[in-house]
């Protein structure tokens, strides 16, 4: 009995090994066929931050293949907790031998992909392609400039976000407040936030706050305040840190005072902000258009948007996303066709969405973005999204040095200490400036 059992076991083990080996071979051959030397094939890498990313990229790829039946598009989803780690994972992918044709990047990645010589600029296509001029004329100049590094246009932007203030309309009504106007100031904002702060259970401490901001991101966190104080976190050429300036000091002090005065709670990550805003514990916060993709499907519509309040100046802080052509592309002309397709009417309308299934960013084409309010996608003041870049042309592209991930984590680490009252604003910013001087360089 022993011998047959052992033989059976041996046979099973050998079979399992053989199956594993064959599966490996099969997998390898499949990969080579899908991303091989076929000139009519494109491989696209995107950040798979959730179901919306997957379905959005798939529908774009499907639509492209429907209009180009001889082209096969292969999508490669890449995970990452934020844009920074996504870039790191794409770099790992490329280091392992993958040669994608296009990859999705945000504004934060423009310097990174340029300084690492990963992308092929599209300047020549913009000059030679007959259809390109009509497209770029329909895109706000700031969105093109935001993806231009040292004269090289990295990509066309298919979608973008500017920072606006979201406010809970029920909270405003309950507090007897009128909706804020576009010309409100920091003082108006603070007074409004104070009126929206309440101790609803009478325990002597507030449990409903006027405002908060994301602790885990700079873009919807301190950046709009810094810009409206007339400052920035880096120089215009993104070659030097500028965080110990009076302007940055003023912005961070303003936010810090909101915490000290009990108008804002201790900062929390953006996903927590969404929840607190929907349940009325926070009456206002700042973000781009992406929160509506969470709010509307959840049935939450009691909100509207307004520009950030004016400080010493008013500047729109924005960032976008696009599909740059990688130098590893074996068919850059076809990749350009794909990039152009991502800003076509058909695709841009996806970013408008519907009231029940809204897009999560602003279409970059003005003519398409203008349809958001006509389609009826909340909030009521949706026209403001594109107007903020067209009618308030003083723009601040989101500061994104080549070492973006390190830059952001360093800024956030020091801000944590400031907002936890473990260091003063001037000392904290001075220490931050010192550390960033070795990170923000050219």
């Amino acid at each position: 009995m022993n011998i047959p059992r052992r033989r059976v076991a041996l046979a099973c083990a050998v079979t399992a090994l053989a199956a594993t080996a064959l599966a490996g071979c099969a997998s390898g051959s499949d990969t080579s066929s899908s991303s091989g030397n076929n000139n009519k094939a494109l491989e696209i890498v995107y950040w798979n931050y959730g179901p919306a990313a997957e379905s959005g990229n798939k529908s774009t790829a499907d639509a492209f293949m429907a209009s180009h039946p001889d082209v096969k598009v292969t999508l490669t989803p890449v995970t990452g907790e934020n844009w920074g780690t996504y870039y790191a994972n794409v770099a790992t992918l490329i280091a392992s031998g993958k040669r994608p044709d296009l990859m999705v990047i945000s504004g934060e990645g423009a310097q990174f992909v340029h300084s690492n010589n990963l992308v092929q600029p599209i300047n020549q296509y913009l000059e030679k392609d007959a259809g390109a001029k009509a497209i770029t004329a329909d895109i706000a100049q700031g969105l093109i400039d935001g993806f231009t590094v040292k004269g090289d246009v990295i990509t066309l932007t298919y979608g973008w976000n500017d920072m606006v203030v979201y406010y809970n309309t029920d909270a405003f009504t309950k507090a007897g407040l009128e909706p804020p106007s576009a010309d409100w100031t920091w003082d108006d904002f603070k007074a409004t936030a104070k009126k929206l702060t309440a101790d609803t259970n009478n325990d002597g401490k507030p449990d409903q706050y006027g405002f908060t901001w994301a602790s885990n991101e700079i873009f919807p966190g301190i950046m709009p305040w810094v810009a409206n104080a007339g400052g920035n976190l880096t120089s215009d050429d993104v070659c030097a840190a500028t965080v110990d300036t009076p302007q940055v000091n003023k912005a961070v002090t303003f936010l810090n005072d909101l915490i000290k005065e009990g108008i804002a709670p201790a900062p929390m990550p953006m996903s927590d902000v969404f929840t607190r805003f929907q349940n009325g514990q926070v009456a206002m916060f700042g973000a781009g258009r992406w929160p509506i993709a969470t709010f509307l499907p959840a049935g939450f519509k009691a909100f509207d948007i307004q520009l950030y309040p004016k400080g010493d100046t008013y500047k729109t802080v924005f960032g976008g996303a696009g599909y740059p052509i990688l130098k590893s592309s074996q068919n850059p002309d076809l990749a350009w066709e794909y990039q152009k397709f991502t800003v076509s009417d058909e695709i841009e309308k996806q970013y408008v969405g519907t009231p029940d299934k809204p897009g999560d960013s602003i279409p970059s084409r003005r003519s398409v973005a203008e349809t958001i309010s006509k389609v009826g996608v909340p909030p009521a003041n949706s026209d403001l999204y594109y107007n903020s870049i067209d009618k308030y042309p003083t723009l601040v592209p989101y500061p994104a040095p080549a070492k973006y991930s390190t830059f952001e984590s360093t800024v956030l680490r020091h801000l944590q200490q400031i907002f936890a009252a473990e260091t003063s604003v001037p000392d904290g910013l001075k220490s931050l400036q010192s550390e960033l001087s070795g990170i923000v360089t050219c």
Binding site: I3, R6, A9, L10, A13, V14, A16, L17, T20, G84, T85, A88, N89, A91, T92, I94, A95, N116, L118, D203, K205, P206, D207, Y209, S215, N216, P265, A266, P267, M268, P269, S271, D272, T275, R276, Q281, K403, S405, T406, S409, L412, R413, H414, Q416, Q417, F419, A420, E422
Partner: protein, 316 residues
């Protein structure tokens, strides 16, 4: 010569030695069968453990950012370890949190396991066991997200409940003093179920006759624990000390989700720091040097534990 004959099975001389069951005879093909069974494990070990380890060792001698060709820099990455102003602080915060988590798991875990082995209705015992073990089997990131919500200073449930008892709001996640404490609490809450499970198995393997005999001899509860339970449980305690030391020094998800390592580096762990250097700074060489030295520190700690265990661990 006679000795060998007396030990040979089937001689009938059981007074000399009990030969036990006959040793299985090796047959042709046994080696091949063993190799076939071991091959998957060997392949997995080579591919997922040995090869990456060698890779990291090689990388630690290079300056490489994933995208460009690497440059051989000799021991430069290891030299940087001594000039990294943050590294020592991060080692300090890691050690503080790891030792606290270790203590909670080993001491509180034992206490809870002993309590669970006392007389109580089976349904209640089952309820407690499930309650303690459940956090261990759920995702660390998901758990940390929920804790982050609960521990929010101004809007969290924990501070609300403490407020009912007259306690002022504690900045669990935002202050240097409490952020590491939060990590310790959340990680211990998650992992203690495993320690309790292992302790219970250890307790159940102690022969009841020994304790019963001690009771007959008039030994009290403490004497029984100290003279019987603890010595016989010492291999289990040692196992948990080693495993929990390694695991608690390697925590990543909790600080990443709860505090992002802050404020400053007060709740940052070495693994998180290493990750940021590799995939934030794209400094793979330096991250590898941190990883290699950290692994050596853990090996050294484990070796010390084995050395000292000889003094207090009883295997019979």
């Amino acid at each position: 010569m006679t000795t060998s004959s007396t030990l040979r099975p089937g001689t009938g001389d059981h007074a000399v030695a009990d030969p036990g069951p006959p040793a299985p005879r090796r047959r042709r093909g046994d080696g091949a069968a063993a190799l076939a069974f071991l091959t998957p494990s060997i392949i997995m070990f080579l591919v997922f453990v040995l090869a990456p380890t060698v890779g990291v060792l090689v990388l630690s001698f290079y300056n490489w950012n994933l995208l460009s060709d690497g440059t051989f820099v000799g021991l430069d990455n290891f030299d940087r370890l001594f000039h990294d102003e943050r590294l020592l602080g991060v080692y300090g915060s890691t050690t503080y949190m790891a030792l606290a988590i270790l203590a909670v798991n080993v001491v509180l875990g034992l206490l809870l396991a002993v309590l669970l082995e006392t007389r109580m209705p089976n349904w209640l015992r089952g309820f407690f066991r499930l309650s303690f073990l459940f956090p261990f089997v759920v995702s660390a990131s998901a758990v940390a997200l929920i804790w982050r919500f609960l521990l929010n200073k101004d809007l969290g449930l924990v501070n609300y409940l403490l407020g009912l008892a007259g306690v002022d709001r504690i900045d669990w996640l935002g202050s240097s003093a409490f952020a590491p404490v939060s990590i310790i609490i959340v990680n211990s809450w998650k992992t203690i179920g495993f320690s309790i499970l292992v302790y219970i198995a250890g307790l159940q393997s102690i022969p009841k006759q020994l304790r019963e005999a001690a009771i007959v001899d008039g030994a009290g509860a403490w004497t029984r624990f100290w003279r019987i339970t603890f010595p016989l449980l010492s291999p289990t305690i040692f196992f948990l000390v080693v495993i929990n030391t390694i695991n608690s020094f390697q925590i990543f998800a909790e600080p990443r989700v709860l505090t992002q390592g802050g404020p400053g580096d007060s709740s940052r762990t070495i693994v998180e720091y290493l990750y940021d250097r590799a995939f934030g700074d794209f400094d793979l060489g330096y991250a590898s040097a941190i990883g290699i030295t950290f692994a050596l520190v853990l090996v050294l700690l484990t070796a010390i534990q084995f050395w000292f265990s000889r003094r207090w661990t009883h295997y019979s």
